[in-house]
């Protein structure tokens, strides 16, 4: 709070998308683009043998990319309530609108069940019959268990996101601090379910693509990307809304600075976790563990690995270090776009080398990768924009909104 001037306020009108805004028509358009994108990806990603292996790999790559923002949104909201944060109140609704795409991802996970045989080597009974390692893992890696976990994870995400979203939007009408207390009470419980469900999703949908390999830190690795991506997504969405003339005074350089600090922190955390994972495997030098990295250091993948180190750590680390970069919208937007791009390299690098599982994997980028990215991205943004247009852009009656509007860093 600065000692001069009046306490800033925001009215419901200022925090609502105008009736004639072009964004109100966008959800339908985005959804159509999304469905067409996925349909084209399915067509182009089909093989001569009638299988759609390429499609499913492109699909799961894009799914994990966009899912990280949705899961990050849930984590952001839980953190906000759990730590009784003040500064982030003004951007919390944006995080909630990302979070409320989780029910969509519960549906988008269903194709993983349909394409199970194209994706998961462990789902082939004949392969497991001749494989001691896979036999030892059947207690977890079996088709029935996988289907149940997809459903459970989807239900958990839907319940959590809808519950927190409803409480928050109900406070828009009722006001008062009762709902704030309720959300604060529920947040620690939410963390527990968030950690378990996100880890299960990361292990089942990404790590088990290479069923011989395992990393005990894998869930944390994906989590690091989720938190980094929600900071990037909130920042870019805020900048977009401000370009439309909304929330111009509400979201300031102070908020961008803090979001940027967290994005920077979690890109470093990602590097720390990523290197720890590599380091232990490199040190121990056990064949079934090192194979995972061997696949990623041959056949053109070594360049992807290098690009990952450069764009997911070295460049953003040096670029986003300065406070001036994070406080200027233009330079900070560049930083965000670098991270958004780097995250795609990351999921691509994890998922795609496993496609030619027992052949020699060569790096290739398929048109279905782009189409699936646009497809899931279209559906994801359709839900996001739809929710953005239906409710206030900030939690208008949150008791801590005034504190957030006046937020200042030292």
């Amino acid at each position: 709070m600065s000692a001069h001037g009046h306490a800033p306020t925001i009215t419901l009108e200022e925090a609502t998308l105008p009736k004639d805004s072009i964004l109100r028509k966008a959800p339908l358009l985005l959804a159509i683009v999304g469905i067409i994108g996925l349909a084209l990806a399915y067509v182009t990603g089909g093989g001569d043998d009638g299988h759609h292996k390429q499609f499913y790999y492109s699909y799961v790559t894009s799914l994990m990319y966009w899912l990280s923002i949705a899961l990050g949104g849930l984590f952001f909201v839980l953190c906000h309530h759990g730590s009784r944060a003040g500064w982030s109140t003004v951007v919390r609704r944006i995080a909630e609108n990302f979070m409320i795409t989780l029910p969509l991802f519960a549906l988008l996970a269903v194709p993983l069940i349909i394409g199970m045989h194209d994706l998961f080597h462990w789902s082939h009974a004949d392969a497991v019959a001749n494989d001691k390692i896979l036999q030892a893992k059947t207690w977890w890696l079996n088709s029935g268990g996988f289907i149940i976990r997809v459903i459970v994870v989807g239900v958990v995400w839907t319940i959590m996101s809808v519950t927190f979203y409803r409480w928050s939007t109900r406070q828009d009408e009722e006001g008062g601090d009762e709902l704030s207390h309720k959300m604060r009470w529920a947040a620690p419980l939410g963390f527990l379910f968030f950690a378990l469900s996100a880890t299960v999703a990361a292990i089942d949908w990404m790590m088990s693509l290479d069923p011989h390999w395992y990393s005990t830190i894998f869930g944390v690795y994906y989590f690091a990307s989720c938190v980094m991506m929600i900071m990037v997504a909130i920042s870019l969405a805020s900048m977009f809304l401000q370009r439309l003339g909304l929330l111009e005074k509400a979201i300031t350089a102070e908020h961008y600075h803090d979001l940027g600090k967290l994005a920077f922190g979690f890109v470093v955390f990602w590097a720390y976790i990523g290197f720890s994972q590599y380091f232990l495997i490199w040190y121990a030098n056990i064949p079934e563990e090192t194979m995972w990295y061997a696949h990623r250091s041959t056949g053109g993948w070594e360049w992807v690995s290098l690009a990952l180190a450069v764009f997911h750590f070295i460049v953003p680390f040096l670029f986003l270090m300065s406070r001036h970069i994070k406080r200027k919208k233009f330079t900070y937007a560049i930083g965000c776009l670098i991270l958004a791009f780097a995250h795609y390299i990351d999921v691509f690098w994890i998922i795609q080398p496993t496609m030619e599982h027992f052949g020699h994997s060569h790096f290739s980028f398929h048109v279905a990768d782009i189409l699936a990215f646009v497809g899931i991205g279209g559906l994801f943004l359709a839900v996001f924009v739809w929710r953005t247009a239906s409710k206030a852009l900030v939690p208008i009656k949150d008791p801590r909104l005034a504190e957030s509007l006046a937020h200042e860093n030292f």
Binding site: S2, A3, E408
Partner: protein, 178 residues
């Protein structure tokens, strides 16, 4: 005995609002050797005082780079040059193995830079300060806000400075001895 040297002029204010505006005015008058003292951090006061950005980040950056280089070269020199031992059949220059220590020393030196750099910039430890000669200054840890303009400031003038403080709404003005 010779007359004691004057350290500067101390003005007392009652509120954050008053000291904020007073700082802006003193800054705009062009004073260089002066400081504001408050019982708690007042957001935006550094801007009102016209303080330049902190030097600490640069000290931390320099120290962190130094720590990283020190940690890496220490390990490289000991394990590759001075006393090479083959470990686990890995190459002598196994840089991934050097990373944990390099990282830790980067953080350690960076932290040293932050703490001791802060001490240096704040001229700590300072065991006494002329402002403590003022009885009223004790209220700075309670509910009063102070601005002190030092006598060595080229713009300092007993009459003019006092007039400025009066104009800014100081509730008490006094001269503080060295």
């Amino acid at each position: 005995m010779a007359e004691k040297k004057i350290y500067g002029m101390l003005a007392e204010f009652d509120s954050t609002r008053a000291i904020y505006h007073a700082c802006e005015e003193v800054r705009d008058e062009g004073y260089k050797h002066w400081d504001a003292c408050t019982p708690f951090p007042v957001h935006g006061l550094d801007k009102a005082m016209g303080l330049p950005p902190s030097k600490i980040p640069w000290i931390v950056l320099g120290m962190a780079i130094l720590g990283g280089i020190a940690g890496f070269t220490l390990q490289w020199w000991t394990t590759v040059i001075d006393y090479p031992i083959l470990i686990a059949g890995k190459p002598m220059f196994s840089w991934p193995a050097f990373m944990p220590v390099t990282f830790e020393l980067t953080v350690l030196f960076g932290a040293f830079g932050a703490v001791f750099g802060m001490f240096g910039v704040n001229r700590l430890p300072t065991f006494n300060h002329p402002l403590f000669n003022s009885e009223r200054f004790q209220a700075v840890t309670d509910d009063k806000f102070f601005i002190a303009i030092e006598a060595r400031d080229p713009l300092y003038d007993k009459r003019k400075t006092k007039k400025l403080f009066k104009k800014l709404g100081a509730t008490h003005i006094e001269l503080v001895e060295e």
